[in-house]
């Protein structure tokens, strides 16, 4: 289904057909005081040349030639031009959400394949057609657990992405949902004893992230067992999907909420990203959003349908399972194309490179006097180190050498002042890791 612009004459024709004299008459049911009486305050109109100049200027503001060691929920990975070539086809790029689902077979098939890939990656039985991003997916997973258990207390590990926790608190604020945080141990993992202590029969869900915000890999199985012993649902959030190329999928989870940005989406400022929710078949009725399903038509040919959409906002109003009524179809398509190009071996190889390069980077950094590792638990492609100086001051120095430094953990975690979260992916050349270590050493040696 394509987006079709309308000429003024066509608008008149449509108004005439429904018996309205003007657009204003069409909107007459909207009270006068809520109507906009002046043109929208947007500049222009501009000529084609001016528009091109404007966007060229904005594009030139992008930084180039920097090497980044910043991850923390957004990751720089290799992307193929094939992905962009496919998602820029008009049939995908301009198509709107499939409300008349069955005529959009291509869109439904792409969504179906996305769901299949997400199930294979997460070890779950069913995945939906995507959410906004990892943070909303995590929150929707909690709301799902709330509906399934009828309980309103949620235990969230403090090592879950701080912004994911913020989104959850925003949703919880006026809904009666009580969110409590579980501390982390000296190794950087979820404090299992604290979790055990906080678990009672009123807990709807236990939420952990792995690899967690410090890059540390959690052991799902014992945590799941603890949660399940209290009949609470076990929710696993994943910010770095590439880790699934190497790590065991969180099959013990009741719901997996994942950020799909690592799969073919550039780390642009503000997104767009693609959230993933995957779960067990038996929980599907409480899953937000929609599901595409494979079927056969009356002549026995393979076809696709919107299998589950009856609980969506546009059908069920205030009783819908979620107010997220749209999906990230184009981003989900990018992830699907990207993963299909990579294949199973490709994803594993990419994950292995992340794993090895992060270890090389850690070894290089630990050679610098005064730097020590913050947590000793296993990690994937991010790790935390403590610097002898303010991370922000060091980062200002690094930026002058065209290096985007690690995340200063002191802002989200006051107890981790001077701790830095370093990210290394397959895109970081060995020489750049060495240049980073050298620049960091110089920055620390400079008199304050």
């Amino acid at each position: 289904m394509r987006y079709l612009p309308k000429s003024p004459a066509e608008r008149q024709e449509m108004l005439a057909a429904i018996g309205a004299k003007s657009i204003n008459e069409l909107f007459s049911s909207i009270p006068e005081r809520y109507r906009l009486r002046e043109p929208l305050k947007i500049p222009g109109p501009y000529s084609e040349a001016e528009v091109i100049q404007y966007f060229s200027d904005r594009a030139a503001e992008n930084s180039a030639g920097y090497t980044s060691f910043l991850g923390a929920g957004v990751y720089n990975h290799l992307r193929s031009v094939v992905t962009d070539a496919i998602i820029q086809r008009g049939e995908f790029l301009t198509s709107y959400t499939p409300y008349q689902a069955e005529i959009a077979q291509g869109t439904l098939q792409a969504i179906f394949e996305f769901q299949t890939l997400m199930c294979q990656l997460t070890g779950q039985e069913v995945a939906n057609a995507s959410m906004y991003d990892g943070s909303t997916a995590t929150t929707e997973a909690v709301l799902m657990a709330e509906r399934l258990t009828g309980r309103q207390r949620v235990l969230v590990a403090r090592s879950v992405h701080p912004e994911y926790r913020e989104v959850l608190r925003t949703y919880a604020k006026n809904s009666g949902l009580r969110v409590e945080e579980i501390p982390f141990t000296a190794s950087g993992t979820v404090d299992a004893k604290a979790l055990q202590g906080a678990l009672k029969d009123d807990v709807a869900a236990v939420v952990v992230q792995s690899p967690n915000f410090f890059g540390v890999i959690e052991s799902h199985a014992p945590l799941a067992e603890t949660a399940h012993a209290a009949d609470a649902m076990f929710v696993v959030a994943i910010t770095e999907g590439v880790s699934l190329g190497l790590l065991r999928p969180p099959a013990e989870a009741d719901i997996v909420a994942m950020e799909g940005q690592s799969f073919g989406l550039a780390p642009s400022y503000g997104g767009p990203f693609a959230g993933v929710i995957a779960s067990r078949d038996k929980f599907v009725r409480q899953m937000p959003g929609r599901l595409s399903g494979q079927t056969t038509d009356s002549e026995g040919r393979r076809g696709f349908v919107l299998t589950l959409a009856t609980r969506e906002q546009h059908i069920r109003r205030e009783k819908a399972t979620s107010n997220i009524c749209t999906n990230q179809a184009l981003c989900a398509l990018a992830a699907t194309v990207h993963l299909t190009l990579l294949g199973k071996e490709g994803l594993r190889e990419m994950a292995e490179q992340n794993f090895s390069k992060a270890r090389f980077a850690l070894a290089e950094l630990l050679k610098i006097p005064g730097i020590r590792r913050s947590f000793d638990a296993p990690f994937f492609n991010e790790f935390t180190v403590e610097l002898p100086r303010s991370v922000k001051m060091v980062n200002a120095q690094l930026l002058r050498e065209r290096i985007i430094g690690p995340l200063a953990l002191g802002t989200p975690y006051p107890e981790l002042t001077k701790h830095a979260l370093v990210c290394v992916t397959e895109t970081t050349p060995r020489a750049e890791i060495e240049r980073f270590a050298g620049a960091l050493k110089r920055a620390l040696e400079q008199p304050i």
């Binding site: 009725r285 009856t310 609980r311 059908i315 069920r316 009783k319």
Partner: protein
Amino acid sequence: MAYPKTYRYSKEHEWIEVMGDVATIGITDYAQHELGDVVFVELPKLGAKIETGKSFGTVESVKAVSEIYAPAAGEVIEANAELQNTPEKINTDPHGSAWLIKVRLTNSTGISDLMDAAAYEAYIADKGKEASA
């Protein structure tokens, strides 16, 4: 399909059959017809309290999810487990084997205000006229 004379009917298209202090509740043939092919039923747990006029579950068809409203107040003593695997029974036998729940009535005062079979048939015939008007 005939509407059993021993049942009472609500405006929201539920039926109720009272035997002593226990009542069986289901949805009417008219309701299943309006919904279309039923694919899922969500019923309350044993021991749940239902209140007159309040929703106690949902029936999902291929085109919509609808609330089921309690025609009387009581405590759920049985939910029709067979409907979990064969929800389509609601389409074929709504007044019989596809009953939804059995409750122990805590307040039966409102039941006599519900329609009898003749009144309900007149009520849905009226609805039919509305729709075709």
